[in-house]
């Protein structure tokens, strides 16, 4: 697929994924809309451009691996996985329900295609590092992607892995930071400031790229650049907007971990569809 076609595909998919996220959370009655909506353009671009995977064969040994370290954003991943055929779309509406493989935070044992169970923040990068080390040991050509949140970057374990992934020269490992600037208790800069973030990761020995996390061409460009880097891991700082795409959720910390009710969900879906020129009357499910 050429670049223009890919970008058109991503642009067409994005509002549909966002509608699915909103509908999933409304059906669940709980969950994290803000961080799922900030994340979806990164996840979508990863699956449609970077990840070599076979949805019908989730354990394909040569697949690229994705670890979603900010596990609370998993509705975004579920939306894309359903679209790609990892599981039936109807399962989206079972999110967080008893017995559903779509656990509130991703679980490897419940859902094929999930590489690592996450949700206790700050642990995913270490797991991704272990997968990348295995890739080096086995001389595999596959790559490992770890999607992280800014809030979880406050965890000490993240900086342990920042040291060690550079030590092990893991150029098959790429981090995407969903830098949406908000966490439960407020602005990241107030709760526990991370800046100067790019300088820190550079100082730890990483190749650092800074992009707009809602600009597909920039995401694609950064992922392509990361593949060319040798001898060190890549850290992509993707500036994003929490709640992106739903005006009343954007940059509102109150939408971190609260699901929309039916009326709010309908309003959000109508807005997403109107802006994308999609029919308003189409059933979501």
């Amino acid at each position: 697929m050429d670049l223009d076609q890919l970008v058109r595909t991503l642009e067409e998919k994005a509002p549909r994924y966002r509608v699915d996220i909103v509908e999933m959370l409304a059906a669940a009655g709980s969950g994290h809309p803000g961080g799922s909506l900030s994340l979806i353009d990164l996840i979508s671009t990863l699956y449609h451009h970077a990840l070599r995977q076979r949805p019908s064969e989730p354990q394909w040994p040569e697949r690229d691996r994705l670890v979603l370290s900010k596990g609370h954003g998993v509705p975004a991943q579920y939306a894309v996985m359903a679209d790609l055929g990892y599981f039936p779309r109807a399962q989206l509406w079972t999110l967080r329900k008893l017995g559903s493989p779509l656990q509130g935070h991703p679980c490897r044992s419940w859902l094929p295609g999930i590489e690592a169970s996450t949700g206790s923040l700050g642990q995913g990068l270490s797991v991704a590092q272990g997968i990348a080390l295995a890739g080096k040991l086995d001389k595999g050509s596959w790559r490992v992607y770890c999607v992280m949140g800014d809030g979880e970057t406050q965890e000490g374990q993240v900086w342990e892995a920042a040291l060690s992934a550079a030590k092990f020269r893991l150029d098959n490992l790429t981090v995407l930071l969903d830098y949406n600037k908000l966490q439960i208790d407020g602005f990241t800069r107030d709760v526990m400031n991370l800046e100067p973030l790019a300088d820190k990761w550079r100082a730890f020995g990483w190749h650092v790229i800074t992009i707009d996390g809602h600009n597909y061409r920039q995401i694609i460009g950064a992922l392509d650049e990361a593949r060319q880097v040798q001898g060190r891991p890549t850290y992509i700082i993707a500036h994003t907007i929490k709640g992106k795409g739903v005006s009343f959720m954007e940059e509102q910390v109150g939408w971190h971990g609260v699901a929309p009710n039916r009326e709010q969900a309908d309003r959000a879906i109508a807005e997403l569809r109107t802006r994308a020129g999609l029919p308003l009357t189409e059933a979501v499910r």
Binding site: V67, S126, A161
Partner: protein, 329 residues
């Protein structure tokens, strides 16, 4: 039921003539031996590879050994990632440090259901002069709560070797292997076969049973020998699989016993004593007295601490006598 050779009522088990060895030494040597035939075996350590004996493996297979530095949390996550990619992973440190990262063990290792063996050496107050911060007295209690965690503690070098073989070639999920810094006497005959999940009766008797684990098993046998000299016939059981505990096997082994003494170099809360109370309460409630740590640890020589906490032969004997002296309830 364990296939260990059982002594008769009149001839209590006597420790073999094999010299005492630290279980960490048997671990390191076995891991190195198995490395050659098991290319998927990968070992991690957190700056204690000489002490944990993982350095033995590192010398032989440097490309499959990863030094994580003083980063136990990161080491556990890295172990999970390697195991998720087909590796058999052993990650090693002092038990207090590695099991102190319980959240990483719970989420990254156990919940992912991966073949990671967490090796915790320097278990219990036996660490001695270094004092409490270096002592794992809560590790069994923590790890036993995870539904898929196999918790193993060998009583001697022979059992250690067989446990490591099982963890490398048989077991498919997460495990915790609790090892000693200090040397412990051989308590098994050369023909002993470790059976994962089974209790290991070393002596069959009646009335009193002493259930011990790890470094305390030798003392339990010593105490039993004194009791036999007084005309008693205690049962002695080595509990080397602490979780999941074979409750039915335990009840069977305690068939002719009314009182149970448990002995462990661990807090009396949550470890062997608790596990036995849980198993018996649900099957056949018996009078149980737990011997172990009831306070924080402190500096001292291993022998002094074992004496203080009644974890050695004379101390276990005293505890047994006190339990036997109780009026029936």
């Amino acid at each position: 039921m364990s296939s260990s050779s059982l002594s008769t009522e009149t001839a209590p088990a006597t420790p073999s003539s094999a010299p005492p060895r630290a279980t960490r030494d048997a671990f390191g040597e076995t891991l190195r031996r198995l490395g050659a035939d098991h290319p998927q075996l990968v070992v991690l350590d957190a700056d204690l590879s000489e002490s944990t004996r993982s350095a033995k493996f590192a010398e032989a297979f440097p490309e499959r050994f990863f030094q994580l530095g003083i980063q136990e949390a990161n080491m556990l996550g890295t172990a999970a990632g390697l195991a998720a990619s087909g590796k058999r992973v052993f990650c090693c440190s002092f038990s207090c440090f590695v099991t102190g990262r319980f959240d990483q063990i719970k989420v990254s290792v156990a919940y992912n259901d991966l073949p990671v063996t967490i090796v915790g050496t320097h278990a219990g107050c036996a660490v001695g002069p270094d004092g409490y911060t270096q002592m794992a007295l809560e590790d069994v209690a923590l790890l036993r709560t995870l539904p898929n965690m196999l918790v193993l503690q060998p009583a001697d070098d022979l059992e250690t070797t067989q446990m490591v073989e099982h963890l490398v070639t048989g077991h498919r999920g997460p495990a915790f292997l609790r090892l000693t810094r200090q040397k412990v006497p051989r308590v098994h005959d050369a023909g002993y076969r470790f059976v994962p999940g089974a209790v290991d009766p070393l002596r069959r008797g009646s009335g009193l049973a002493i259930c011990a684990t790890g470094a305390c098993v030798a003392g339990a046998l010593e105490a039993a020998a004194r009791l036999v000299g007084e005309g008693l016939s205690p049962t002695v059981i080595n509990i080397s699989t602490l979780a999941p505990l074979d409750g039915d096997g335990l009840v069977a082994a305690l068939a002719s016993c009314e009182r149970v003494l448990t002995v462990e170099d661990h807090s009396i809360v949550g470890g062997l004593g608790s596990a036995i109370c849980e198993a018996l309460a649900e099957r056949r409630p018996l009078r149980v007295h737990r011997v172990g740590l009831r306070e924080f640890g402190e500096s001292g020589e291993t022998e002094e601490l074992f004496r203080k906490h009644h974890l050695d032969g004379p101390g276990i004997y005293l505890e047994a006598k006190a339990l036997l002296a109780e009026a029936p309830r």
